[in-house]
Amino acid sequence: MKVLRPARLVAVSAALAALLAASIAAGLAWGPSAVSPREAFGVLFDRDAAGPAADIVRRIRLPRVAIGALVGAALSVAGVVFQALLRNPLADPFVLGISGGAALGGVAVLSLGASLGLGAGAVPIAAFAGAIAATALLFTAAGARGRLVATTLLLTGVVFNAFASAAIVFLASLGGMAEGTSIFLWLIGNLGAARAELLAPLAGLFALGLACALPYARALDLLALGDETASHLGVAVERAKRLLLLATALMVGAAVSVSGLIGFVGLIVPHALRLVLGPDHRLLLPASALAGAAFLVLCDTAARSVLPGRELPVGAITALAGGPLFLLLLRRQQRRGLVA
């Protein structure tokens, strides 16, 4: 019988870590500026290197690649957790409205920030505040009777996302053309505004969220069978759900705050990995972190490089690249009779 053994966990993690390392190398090597891959690696490993090439690699490409990796990892882990908690393979990190709150906060600053004297630097802060407010609302509205029920959570999220969308349209219509463009870019998700000073808080929030979620990997397997079954098998159901929701809310809030709503990553990476590796969350959680990071770094490298002289929003690339890839996987698995 094939069940998860620690050796498989180590092997899969090592393979995906190698993939991530390769994507990071690619992300550092390629970009719109005329720094060749050879030059890029040259200045990376030479402490004394200076000049424009060194600046581009260290101050632009490196933080952007690191932020891309963290955002991809955070969104994928959040996707895995939400899919298990909501017992729905179609759930994504944005389904519970946490992203709606973040988007509302971010767009408010993008649209009205100039008249309030706030610069673009306030966008991530406002977005994260929005995510926290949405999470608090979610817990209050859905957890009113002391229990978090999947359908109530979903409904609350859907309603809040709809409300946030309407408010965003209203805010966007108040701004001018320039604000409109930046709002559009933000809503489709891009790493163009990712700045080095955002790296540390993002890394901290991601690490905190992951540290909360990882010990609950086995509990996620049991929760996927339903609250009652999980409880019969020894899971402290309500505590586990609250902690997991809070951990993922932190990760989603942090990711959306620095990059906007990059869609598809949190849906397709967990899903694709589940097709290939099986549904055991002890493997799926770490694998999603690594594969999600690699996927987003690769997509962002493509977003920076495919069109000479201009940059595409990475959110467009994730959907363009992820959609067909996913259908291909699904077809292959169908042929092998692994999914209905």
């Binding site: 019988m1 094939k2 069940v3 998860l4 053994r5 620690p6 298990a84 017992r87 729905n88 393979p89 010990p215 990997a217 086995r218 397997d221 049991l222 996927a224 069978l225 339903g226 009652e228 079954t229 409880s231 019969h232 098998l233 020894g234 899971v235 402290a236 589940r274 099986g278 549904p279 055991d280 002890r282 009779g337 692994l338 999914v339 209905a340």
Partner: protein, 266 residues
């Protein structure tokens, strides 16, 4: 005399505005199989959930081997008590082996990985339920009956002292029904106890040491099947007229005849 394995004393439960259980009392001795019978809505599943510790009663006490069920931590309780629900919906393509292995979750150490012993227990449970050949198949591809056999195997893998089964055989054919209940009988012979909700009076009469008739949130009658499965208690509990015959080996055979008009049942 030793303490009963499970002792439910004057258990009362309200769910919303409805009093589902109103002072139900029932004991299950070590090695004993007790059948829980009654109409839909009589409170059978609720009583089972209370016995499993999934639902805290508003009044009354639940004792496991003489100690309050509340005093056990969750994992210790999950090692002692296993519940097989009516039906389990699984949203992801876990393999049968993975599902059965989840029964070992309350036995795992801090690293959260199964050892050789856990794998052996799970394998034995699958073999006993006749589903070893399905081990690597996705649970989503199985028939309802096969899936239920996997869930029973998971309960066996928990190695519980008390097995709670909520209509475990509702989706099973006659042969599988007998198989599941003879496995329960085997566990009882090894010292475990079982409380089995069933609508199948024939199977209950054959396999249970005692049966309890539940009606309106109370235990109406409890005793050996031949004592309880008689026309009057059945009329009171189910609202039906039934003919009861003694089978060749003394096991009562219940043949329902007609519905008793509402209002004249009690």
């Amino acid at each position: 005399m030793s303490a009963p394995r499970l002792s439910l004393r004057d258990v009362a439960v309200r769910l919303g505005p409805r009093a589902v259980l109103g002072g139900a009392s029932l004991d299950v001795a070590p090695g004993e199989i007790v059948g829980l019978l009654g109409r839909n809505g009589a409170g059978k599943t609720t009583l089972l959930r209370v016995a499993a510790g999934a639902l805290r009663p508003d009044a009354g006490r639940v004792l496991l081997d003489g100690a309050s069920l509340d005093a056990l931590d969750r994992r210790a309780r999950a090692r002692a008590v296993a519940l097989v629900p009516q039906d389990t919906q699984v949203p992801f393509p876990f393999s049968v082996a993975e599902i059965v292995l989840m029964g070992r979750a309350p036995h795992l150490g801090p690293l959260g990985f199964e050892g050789a012993h856990d794998l052996a227990v799970a394998r034995a449970a699958m073999e006993r339920m006749g589903i070893a050949a399905l081990a690597d198949r996705s649970i989503l591809e199985l028939s309802g009956g096969e899936r239920q056999l996997a869930i029973v195997a998971r309960a066996l893998a928990q190695e519980p002292r008390l097995l709670l089964l909520d209509e475990p055989t509702a989706f099973l054919d006659l042969r599988h029904r007998l198989e599941v209940l003879s496995v329960v009988r085997e566990r009882a012979a090894a010292g475990a106890s079982a409380l089995v909700v069933s609508h199948d009076l024939g199977v209950a009469a054959r396999f249970c040491d005692r049966v309890a008739l539940l009606a309106g949130g109370r235990v109406l009658a409890v005793g050996r099947p031949a004592e309880v499965l008689r026309p009057e208690p059945l009329r009171a509990a189910y609202g039906i007229d039934a003919d009861v015959f003694a089978g060749p080996d003394g096991v009562p055979v219940v043949v329902p005849r007609a519905v008793v008009p509402d209002g004249s049942a009690l």
